[in-house]
Symmetry: C2
Subunit: 352 residues, 2 copies
DNA sequence: GGCGCCAGTGGGACCGTTACCACTCCCCGC
DNA sequence: GCGGGGAGTGGTAACGGTCCCACTGGCGCC
């Protein structure tokens, strides 16, 4: 047995020779849907097993066209919310007979671009961009370009959890309601008597942040409460550490709020830790709420009041929109609903 | 503009025509390493940009052989520990210029098999199986088969977090030390004075469980303590709910242990919740320890004493082992170390 | 009994790219 | 002045499938 490093999988040709039939016949047996005599079929199938034959996707893709591959691009698979969305995409894609390519970007637009390029090289049937983005004219122009390129190649761009690009751009968006969820959650806090709420979140150019802040503001306005611009801690990373530091610093500077609206549950976990480390209680002294309803929210003590976001369904819906859409091409934009999950981390302020 | 549904990406041929050169020259420019006159190169590059040309991986793979694609197969990307490993694989693969295919199995061997088949169809350069497995003679035979098939095709099977298949089987294993970690953690509990420790974990046929239970037993033996076979709660799922239920049931039946060794942090979270719901305290009444050191461990209150497992490094090491291995083929099995992280969830038993 | 049809099969062309070989200059050295 | 060699380029045969077209019998129908 010579150890040639460039070994070869057996091919359809090997199978054909062994079974004593033509290439076409083997192809038909593998495909399964053409008329082949039972005897021939059996013979070919035996040859396939004996040779351990496995079809070559690349050859198939080259000839036929359709790839049965989709790609998804995500900030970081370790984020529990992203992980849920990824799971949804993966499950639904598998159900429809597609296999997934992944790439992570750490939020870097350059890496996002590079990842999209790779997906294009792979001729993915659809590309899913999962999670918010830093919005700008440049971003929109870039995405529009990409959407058109993908569309021209018979592929599809799907934005999951970020807003549509606008009419005429061949991209699908599947969102969940950041604005509405934040509105409801803020309303809940206000209902409990909070008037001064510290908002801890990301940069306003980030689509997710923009939506949640908008909902927050609208709720405050609707309830006739003033918004103190000094009570925004923006530009934070979506990490536990950032939540901890921002809230710690605020508490050191004098506690002029009764509740913390953390933009994600992970940030809320940091915020809660900061409150405890300042010798205060949650929710007695400071109420803390989050957003996303990741599993952690249940395990925090007190358990976190938050907004349930159907991330898995988001992923599934995105795949369905891209892959099950009939040939005629409507441009379905979907907006999934969210709702507040009331647990123990938010109560009435001491003053109320 | 006719809306033909089967549109075409521009190809190397289109580029060649537009730039007025041959296919070979375009190919050389794209590859980048052959001698091409500067003027020609520029002309071709312009054509590439104008046509928005993107190379077709499938055609490349068909001709050349090497794929620059790796596949990883995991129980569930939502598990924080898995997610870390997946992240490691993804990052390292990207660094080496490879793109990742993912598939999830929910622990179902049949789906694992199907996923491996898909990876084979894609001619992945390596296939990573991430996480423990249910061991059996059938499992080993199956894996050996797969390893040989993959090897015969010039690909590679890598087991991440499960034991090697044995000599002569062309598969690489990258493990972390389940036995040693459990030994150390048990030693820690014993050192604090615990003698009756409830072990909550999976099925003994599961490789991870087997390793951790073995370490637990060895530690008890080394410290001269008897092992009460009644203090094993095995066959549990690795979920919060399972941890909660198993420990709740035990507590209802009378508390005959002073500490809980939960096989994973997620199970530990459930265990802690059960202790609280029984009106007891952690660690005053019952100490709880976990395994994995996922982010949740920090956020639990009390913060969880656990075993740090370098999951991300596991993923990275696996990729390096598979992709950077020189042509001559050593069969490197690696065992990564673990260590105990002491936090607040384990103290001295009341009796001590 | 001749004709058409269809089930079953084989024979290519083609998909987009790379690898290899061949060819043409031009420059240099003897 | 001529041969050798290398830089720069073109031509073409793979790679492993699928798909379309063509061919062969056998059968039913008029």
């Amino acid at each position: 047995m010579p150890d040639d490093p460039d070994r070869r999988q057996s091919t359809i040709k090997d199978v054909a020779e062994r079974a004593g039939v033509s290439l076409s016949t083997v192809s038909r047996v593998v495909a399964g849907n053409y008329p082949v005599a039972q005897a021939t079929r059996t013979r070919v199938q035996r040859a396939i097993e004996e040779l351990n034959y496995v079809a070559n996707t690349h050859a198939r893709a080259l000839g036929g066209g359709a790839t049965r591959t989709v790609g998804f691009i995500v900030n970081d698979v370790r984020g529990p919310a992203f992980a849920e969305a990824v799971h949804g995409v993966e499950q639904e894609a598998a159900r429809l007979g597609h296999i997934c390519l992944v790439a992570t970007t750490d939020g870097d637009p350059a890496r996002e671009l590079a990842a999209i390029r790779l997906m294009r090289e792979q001729r993915a049937a659809a590309v899913f961009l999962i999670g918010g983005a830093t919005d700008s004219a440049a971003y929109r122009a870039r995405m529009a370009d990409i959407a058109r390129s993908l569309d021209a190649a018979g592929s599809r761009l799907v934005l999951c959890g970020r807003p549509p690009l606008g009419d005429g751009i061949p991209a699908t968006a599947v969102e969940y309601d950041n604005e509405g969820g934040a509105y409801a959650l803020t309303g809940f806090l206000v209902g409990r008597g909070h008037r001064r709420i510290l908002y801890v979140g990301g940069d306003l150019t980030f689509t997710t942040t923009a939506g949640r802040v908008a909902g927050f503001r609208r709720a405050m306005a609707d309830f006739g409460l003033p918004v103190d611009e000094g009570l925004f801690e923006l530009g934070a990373q979506f990490t536990r550490a950032a939540g901890y530091e921002r809230v710690s610093a605020r508490l050191r500077g004098g506690r002029d709020f009764t509740a913390v609206f953390a933009e994600t549950d992970v940030v809320a976990a940091g915020a809660m830790a900061a409150v405890f480390d300042a010798g205060l209680g949650v929710p007695e002294d400071v109420s803390v709420v989050g957003y996303d309803d990741i599993p952690l929210a249940t395990d925090l003590r007190p358990a976190l009041t938050t907004v349930r976001v159907p991330y898995e369904e988001l992923g599934r819906a995105a795949v369905r929109a891209a892959l099950e859409r009939p040939a005629g091409r409507p441009e379905p934009h979907q907006m999934l609903g969210t709702h507040v999950i009331i647990r123990q981390s938010a109560g009435r302020p001491a003053s109320a």
